[in-house]
């Protein structure tokens, strides 16, 4: 009996309940492939996509929801991650021969992160809000041009092909995806609970006040931006491996700019599980749409963003807060 009451005592802390729920869900997801045939299974593919989407969504979530900066350049980091993976693999740089080489993946996250730091420092130190968003937009677009132009490295508009003979089964994709999605969510969780998260929150609420309290703002913003890029790169890496054929159209296109935003907006920006929920919804919507209204589903996503922003700007998670007076008005 004692153990039971201790367990309940442990669960009383709401945050702990959430953590337990997340772990349970993860466990269930991990077990699914044991009960289903993995190959050619639509659900496995669907979940895989959801995992990839979760990772890139969490990246945007951290930058927008916690650091309060809207990034319109995530597609550049995503693409960069994919290309990094492809190039490392093609030139066999790490010489491990593993497909899901963790080093390759890590590098695919680190390279965009480095880029994020390089452009983040000048952009974030000078630009506020809207202006920063456009700066990221501009950078993203420039990157696309560079990728297309640097034909001898990136294969131009045609891109890079990864030999597909290595593909053995969907299972590793699935599990790697699950792992990365968990990792991304956990990363956001731990950052928010850390000192960095506290600083970010202070900056988001009232930047001038935070600065006057000695918070050296720039490093936190750049850090958030870099982590956002890191996660986008990871997502790109995984997706790239799955695709086998990486080109600007598939990994650098505008969709990867909008999807993270859409997912966070749907699920709830600035929350820990919101992006995952948003990813689930969005992937479901698109898969469903792809099957039945192939052409129309981008329209649906547009309508969705508008409806959600109009009627529930805090996303699905924010629904419970909807009737509180938390929305601040500018007058």
């Amino acid at each position: 009996m004692r153990y039971v009451s201790t367990a309940f005592g442990y669960l009383k802390d709401r945050r702990r309940v959430n953590v337990v729920i997340v772990l349970l869900v993860a466990a269930v997801l991990a077990l699914i492939p044991l009960f289903m045939s993995v190959e050619g299974n639509y659900w496995i593919y669907f979940l895989f996509l959801t995992f990839v989407n979760t990772v890139i969504a969490q990246g945007w979530n951290l930058v927008a929801g916690y650091a309060g900066q809207i990034s319109l350049g995530q597609n550049a980091f995503f693409g960069l991650g994919a290309y990094t993976t492809a190039l490392l693999w093609i030139h066999d740089i790490t010489k491990t021969g593993y497909y899901f080489d963790p080093v390759v993946m890590l590098l695919s996250g680190v390279v965009p992160a480095i880029l994020a730091v390089i452009i983040g420092i000048p952009l974030l130190s000078r630009l506020r809000g809207d202006y920063f968003a456009f700066g990221t937009l501009g950078v993203g677009q420039i990157l696309i041009v560079i990728f297309i132009k640097a034909r001898h490295i990136t294969g131009g508009a045609d891109g890079i092909h990864i030999p597909s003979m290595v593909y053995s089964s969907m299972a590793p994709y699935y599990y790697t995806g699950l792992l990365l999605a968990l990792f991304a969510t956990a990363l956001v969780y731990f950052i928010t609970r850390s000192k960095i998260g506290l600083a970010l929150r202070a900056v988001r609420e009232d930047e001038m006040s935070a600065a006057s309290h000695g918070v050296f703002i720039l490093q936190y913003k750049v850090f958030a931006f870099a982590v956002g890029a890191f996660l986008a790169g990871l997502a790109g890496s995984l997706y790239g491996i799955y695709l086998f054929h990486i080109n600007p159209d598939s990994v650098l296109n505008m969709n990867w700019l909008f999807y993270p935003i859409l997912m966070c907006v749907l699920g709830g920006t600035g929350t820990i599980v919101g992006p995952a929920i948003g990813a689930l919804f969005m992937t479901a919507l698109f898969s469903f749409g792809d099957r039945y209204f192939a052409q129309y589903h981008p329209i649906i996503s547009g309508v969705l963003i508008i409806l959600v922003m109009r009627f529930m700007p805090s996303g699905i998670i924010g629904l419970k807060d909807r009737f509180s007076r938390r929305t601040r008005f500018s007058l």
Binding site: V145, K149, Q295, G302, L304
Partner: protein, 289 residues
């Protein structure tokens, strides 16, 4: 040759300028950058195209139809989509609404009108003047004139009408304007409607000059944004000049460096201006609303 390049730049730049004026108005009052501007420009280009193709209405005459429609669409959009979000402190919501709208309209156009490029061909499409060995296509010249006239129209509206004065006041200080008993929503709506109206004008101009397709909208929006950043927020002339400057930069870059790099250079200039002179070359320094 260089002079030709410059002339081309000016001719096309005014279209960017018109788009930028629209953006400037919307930003001035609502403090958001309406990224869907380009998509709406393309939309109205399609309207012009269909008016011509189905009803045989000359593009320039169609302005008489397109402009009122654009103003109406603008008002409806404001009251239907942006009104509540505009009053919130968090401007990101309005920004995301604009992004969603852009996505929506572009994809609707893709589905309904297909991704094929369209262009309008009239008897005067190939008409060209050649003073001093410079090629001056008739359509581009008219586009320039249309742009200047509408810019002038907006300028007169802002300076000489009471509502226009209210819009200028609201761009400066919305709270103060509200304390005069002026309805901020109404002012926003007017500014927004005119912004979309400008998109209508630009759309017609675009339709007569270039082939266009739904995807062009996003690119155009960014160009308009760059033009705005160059010219600065807060005055009509500045936005127009910003557009012309962008036109010049693009054409010069194309001429000397060629191909896709012209775009990258434009973006590069954009980032530079944002970083080092955010108020643009002609705008007043912006207090954060």
């Amino acid at each position: 040759m260089l002079l030709q390049v410059l002339v081309n730049g000016v001719l096309f730049g005014t279209t960017y300028g018109i788009a930028a004026i629209g953006l400037s108005l919307i930003f001035g009052t609502m403090r958001i950058i309406f990224l869907a501007q380009g998509t709406f420009i393309v939309f109205f280009a399609y309207v012009c195209f269909w008016l011509f193709t189905l009803l045989g209405i000359d593009p320039y005459l169609s302005l008489v139809i397109v402009i009122p429609i654009a103003l109406l669409v603008g008002s409806l959009l404001y009251y239907g989509v942006f009104k509540e979000a505009a009053a919130l402190e968090d401007k990101n919501i309005s920004l995301l609404l604009a992004v969603g709208l852009m996505y929506l309209v572009e994809n609707i156009m893709l589905v309904v009108w297909s991704p094929d490029p369209r262009s309008i061909v009239t008897p005067y499409t190939t008409l060209v003047f050649r003073p001093f060995d410079i090629v001056l296509p008739f359509t581009r010249l008219i586009a320039l004139i249309i742009a200047l006239v509408s810019a002038l129209g907006v300028y007169i509206f802002l300076k000489r009408t009471l509502i226009g004065t209210a819009v200028r006041a609201a761009s400066e200080d919305m709270v103060s304007t509200t304390l005069m008993g002026i309805n901020p929503s109404f002012v926003n709506a007017i500014a927004f409607a005119i912004g979309i109206g400008m998109a209508g004008v630009a759309g017609v101009a675009l339709a007569t000059i270039f082939p266009f397709d739904p995807g062009y909208g996003f690119i155009f929006a960014i160009k308009a944004l760059i033009a705005l950043a160059l010219g600065g927020i807060g005055n009509v002339g500045g936005a127009l000049l910003g557009g012309i400057m962008l036109g010049l930069i693009e054409n010069l870059a194309s001429y000397y460096v060629g191909g896709g790099w012209a775009d990258a250079i434009s973006y590069g200039v954009f980032i530079l201006v944002l970083s080092f002179r955010p108020q643009g070359l002609f705008g007043k320094a912006l207090k954060k609303a």
